[in-house]
């Protein structure tokens, strides 16, 4: 079951990457990157149990923290800007 979970996680990550490449707006890309990061955390956790090395769970924990902070930071950057151009929109 662990191997099947790893395969499903890789498939989901590939689909999220396709959405990040296709995404018409910048918010689609950020959403796909967020999904990709969450699935990376899960992938690291599952790989720990597949190879029997529970020490790697620390990496998953740190990756979850970094993923959240980076998504919030990118969103703060893009919140009051237009997605394509970069000039500040007056709200």
């Amino acid at each position: 079951m662990l191997a099947a979970t790893i395969i499903a996680l890789l498939v989901v990550m590939a689909m999220a990457l396709i959405r990040a490449l296709l995404g018409p707006s910048v918010y689609d890309r950020i959403l796909a990157v967020n999904v990709f990061g969450t699935k990376t955390v899960l992938l690291i956790a599952v790989i720990c149990f597949t190879f029997g090395k529970p020490e790697f769970l620390d990496i998953a924990l740190v990756y979850a923290l970094i993923n959240f902070v980076s998504v919030i930071g990118v969103l703060r950057y893009f919140e009051f800007r237009s997605g394509s151009g970069g000039e500040v929109m007056d709200d």
């Binding site: 498939v11 989901v12 918010y27 999904v35 969450t38 599952v46 769970l57 969103l75």
Partner: protein, 131 residues
């Protein structure tokens, strides 16, 4: 005996988590709009995370790995909805803003809805010659 039950439960949780994760990814690829895509990804993310990490916690047994998995689960539980909320809020401030919905007051503002008393008065005015 009890180990087999725990193993079976963890397998079921992992399989369900895989199913929700894959359905969320299909929604992320195929839905037509940004907000519907965010709905598909955000809803299934939390549930799939809970199921997969729960299955791993069942496999871990009483150890330090259980505590670390619990910490990851708790953190992803709080940050997933917060990230979705921040994303929707940022999208509302952009040119991809949703059109404002009509409220009930705005819809009924132009024409007065017919009331029972008005109906009675109109019928009285029409039927005066019958009495």
């Amino acid at each position: 005996m009890i180990e087999q039950v725990v193993w079976l439960l963890s397998g079921c949780a992992l399989a369900l988590g895989c199913f929700f994760m894959l359905s969320g990814a299909v929604g992320l690829l195929r839905f037509p709009d940004f907000y519907t895509r965010m709905h598909a990804a955000g809803v299934t993310d939390t549930l799939a995370t809970f199921l997969i990490l729960g299955g791993l916690m069942l496999l871990a047994g009483w150890s330090l790995a259980l505590f670390k998995l619990g910490m990851i689960l708790l953190f992803l539980f709080f940050t997933g909805p917060v990230a979705s909320h921040a994303l929707a809020r940022a999208a509302q401030h952009s040119e991809w803003k949703l059109p404002a919905l009509k409220t009930r007051g705005e819809q009924g503002g132009a024409t007065e809805p017919p009331t029972a008393a008005a109906d009675v008065a109109e019928a009285d005015a029409l039927n005066t010659d019958r009495v």
